[in-house]
Symmetry: C2
Subunit: 224 residues, 2 copies
């Protein structure tokens, strides 16, 4: 990837004004991730507001889709026109689930990002035990991107080493969840996703700019 | 469980009028399950309409929550007051995920139903390989209910045999997805969840009544 912004802002607060927030951040971050609390509270209206304010920034629907294919496709139909990337869980598998979703998203020119592992401790209990199978699924399905935890950089590193440079790796877990800005980039991620450290800051734009600087310094150090 | 209705209607069509539909079905079914396509399209307004029309029927938010604990709790906060049951995925694990969600739901008097296996073929690829771990999680977390596929009655039977009668088992997959009405009840489920066969029928209430009769006949046969 190039040297453009490597920060995605997670807008996960149902009380936040998405339009103004996105407007103030759009030239600092590469995109916006909107999570389920916001989408359920505000419905598709929230995405309409965000799409208008976000300009060319990527909009990522982080509903972590994890249903049978038909239901995931119907959800994607609702999101179409407002988002660029749809996040789904690897765990639902290919047959009758991600195969159908991927086919639909390809047809509509939308991107799929697959959760491969998660940032909380419970990810060890199921997800991380299945990492080899998740990698096989990724190699077969060839999604646009992978979601992998900044809190466990060795998983980011392993995905990059095993799967090559074809996939964008998006890493949540920076800031409040514990990972240091730039650490996932150094491990091989393309983008770091930051939520509370930006949206709960007194000045979200200043917070995002500070994060960008911290990323740049970290990259300089890890490449030195 | 008693001998009351054992049918849950899945209202998964974003174009359906939830209020009138629920009003016509409320004395035939035990509850309503609302899926993600509807909730994302209509937002919380859809649940308000449903709550008003559904009377004492159970309302089940089928967002198949599968995120870190904080995000699932924030989603549940949005749902509170409109739904009785929240469905989440087992595979996100206990620590930092379902532990937090369960604690919140208990405090708010809401019920948790855990997905243990799914009705599509891809459930074999990850979920069903982890069934022993899923059962351990259930025994530890003690949710109100389990979601298990009517399309694989041996999984329903196994959950009932292994985990006892403490948990309600809710079985989707009846009708369009292939399982015959009553088959999951005979395998040990408490409720069968039916979507398209009801909501896409010319007369949903008549369709639901026919399904109830088919359930009763199946139960008579399997208990004979």
């Amino acid at each position: 990837m190039g040297e453009g912004p490597r920060l995605i802002a997670a807008l996960d607060n149902p009380r936040a004004q998405l339009g103004p927030l996105a407007g103030s951040l759009r030239d600092v971050v590469v995109g916006f991730k909107v999570g389920m609390p916001v989408l359920v509270a505000k419905g598709i209206g929230a995405l309409r507001e965000l799409r208008d304010a976000a300009g060319d920034s990527l909009i990522i629907a982080d509903l972590k889709l994890a249903d049978i294919g038909d239901v995931m496709v119907r959800t994607a139909e609702v999101l179409k026109g407002y988002v660029d990337v749809v996040i789904a869980h690897s765990f639902v598998g290919h047959a009758g689930a991600l195969d159908k979703l991927k086919e639909y998203l390809d047809r509509e020119g939308l991107k799929l990002a697959l959760v491969t592992s998660m940032s909380h401790e419970g990810s060890y209990e199921f997800y991380d035990r299945e990492l080899i199978s998740v990698e096989s699924l990724v190699a077969r399905l060839r999604p646009w991107g992978l979601v992998a935890p900044a809190t466990r950089p060795w998983i980011v590193r392993r995905l990059r080493d095993d799967l090559g440079s074809e996939f964008r790796i998006l890493a949540p877990g920076i800031g409040t969840q514990g990972a240091v800005p730039g650490s996932a980039l150094c491990a091989g991620a393309d983008y770091e996703i930051v939520g509370r450290s930006i949206v709960e800051a007194t000045n979200p734009r200043v917070a995002a700019e500070e994060l960008l600087r911290a990323q740049e310094e970290a990259i300089k150090r890890c490449r030195a």
